[in-house]
Amino acid sequence: MANPPRERKAQPSDLILLLFVLISMALVIIELLSNLLSQLVG
């Protein structure tokens, strides 16, 4: 029996997860930068 291919196409669930991670990361980075701005300004 041949081994199943290692790389598989992205599933819809993969893409939803990717979207969740990217949106959350973006929110975290904006939060970090706004804190940094507060520190620099005042």
């Binding site: 990717l18 969740f20 991670v21 959350s24 975290v28 939060e31 970090l32 940094l36």
Partner: protein, 406 residues
């Protein structure tokens, strides 16, 4: 065959180790640069502290005398500094004190509080309330000074550092007799008992013969959720880790909880290579699992993006620690949403993120822990260093055994 494959198999490990070393080197550089840039100079604030004075003279280390008339040299008071431990680390305040020991001016020289909360306390008028107070006053929050609800640690740090500054001037410069100080008591209460109990539960739960590990783990998680989350809001955060990295070790008598929690985690890691906290009693992990029970969430790992997610998180945490070390402010980049859930405190962005994570928790088991928690890459890093050190140790021992005795 095995030896031929080894270099290829070890390549990702070697890459991880090199990147780990680079991360440590850049963080050490940020720590050093932050130290050089830190400016807690009192000189530029002297006029602000004593607007009536037109001349200042340095007396002993850290103290200045203020004169109202340069020619007649009429002494009107002194300037000194006081420090206390705040939420993010030590806070230093410069205090102008008149000849009777009354506080006449206050300037915060250095502080490491979370920006939003420090601003809230500063805008509340707490500092103005301290003006006119005498060095003999008790300076106690809730008694002769009103603090700010939800920012008690920051309020207390301001009040204590002003008191210490005023008493330093009164004792060292004015030669006044200081009131007897109560010795600092060891703070051993319910949070400390809870954390010790949770470590004990974890210990029993990991015994090979123990049959009810699953049930015990749920008990530990629920205790963690209620006690360390909703009642005391004391989860492990990036801020606590940054604080220790920066060397802002708070007095153990009043911060025993943190020493027990961080010390206990490191001890179990060193002895057993297990993280006793995250899966067993992290309150936010427990909150996600409780939500997950409702939605029948399952563990999900994307084979396609697993590497991308791991490296995105590692990069984010490296950046967050780097900024905290550079600005010497542990709370500056603590982006967790724990306080947002347990105390309903946080920015609008943090509330949006909390909503997103809780919705995701319905379907995926612990999404925060897997993709966003700063503790995850730190956990991986500690494991990597431990494994690497053991490997070096074994190699060294092997070489010693092979080499003939001299």
């Amino acid at each position: 065959m095995a030896t031929q494959n080894a270099p290829g198999k070890n390549a990702p490990l070697r890459r991880e180790r090199i990147l780990g070393l680079l991360a440590i080197a850049t963080l050490a550089a940020a720590w050093w640069i932050g130290l050089q840039l830190e400016n807690s100079g009192i000189e530029s604030h002297l006029r602000e502290l004593w607007p009536r004075a037109d001349h200042f003279e340095k007396t002993t280390a850290g103290f200045y005398a203020a004169y109202s008339d340069l020619k007649a040299k009429q002494l009107i008071g002194y300037v000194g500094t006081g420090s206390a431990s705040g939420y993010g680390g030590p806070m230093t305040v410069a205090v102008g004190v008149d000849l009777q020991g009354n506080v006449q001016g206050i300037v915060v020289l250095t502080q490491r509080e979370t920006p939003v909360w420090f601003r809230k306390v500063a805008d509340s008028g707490l500092i103005s309330l301290l003006l006119g107070k005498n060095y003999q006053d008790p300076f106690r929050l809730g008694q002769d000074v009103d603090g700010i609800t939800g920012a008690t640690v920051t309020s207390r740090a301001i009040v204590e550092s002003v008191l210490r500054g005023a008493r330093a001037v009164a004792g060292d410069q004015l030669g006044l007799t200081l009131p007897a100080q109560a010795s600092s008591r060891i703070n051993f209460g319910l949070p400390e008992i809870a954390v010790l109990g949770l470590f004990a539960l974890g210990y029993f739960g990991h015994q090979a013969k123990f049959k009810y590990t699953k049930q015990l783990r749920w008990a530990a998680m629920l205790i963690g959720l209620v006690a360390l989350g909703f009642i005391y809001n004391l989860p492990l955060t990036l801020s606590s880790i940054n604080k220790f990295l920066l060397g802002f070790w708070p007095p153990w008598q009043t911060n025993l909880y943190w020493y027990l929690l961080i010390g206990g985690i490191l001890f179990v890691f060193a002895a057993d290579n297990k993280n006793p906290y995250c899966q067993w009693f992290c309150p936010f992990g427990a909150a996600q699992e409780c939500v997950g029970v409702v939605g029948k969430a399952r563990s999900y790992s994307s084979s396609r993006y697993r590497g991308l997610f791991a490296w995105l998180l590692r990069g984010l945490v490296w950046f967050a620690i780097l900024l905290a070390l550079l600005f010497r402010n542990p709370g500056l980049t603590s982006y967790e949403i724990f306080g947002t859930l347990f105390s309903l405190m946080g920015s609008s962005l943090q509330f949006i993120l909390l909503g997103l994570v809780l919705v995701a928790s319905l379907f995926v088991k612990r999404p925060w822990c897997a993709y966003l928690c700063p503790i995850t890459p730190i956990d991986e890093f500690i494991r990597m260093v431990r494994e690497w050190s053991l490997e070096q140790w074994r190699t060294l021992r092997g070489n010693e055994k092979r080499s003939p005795a001299i």
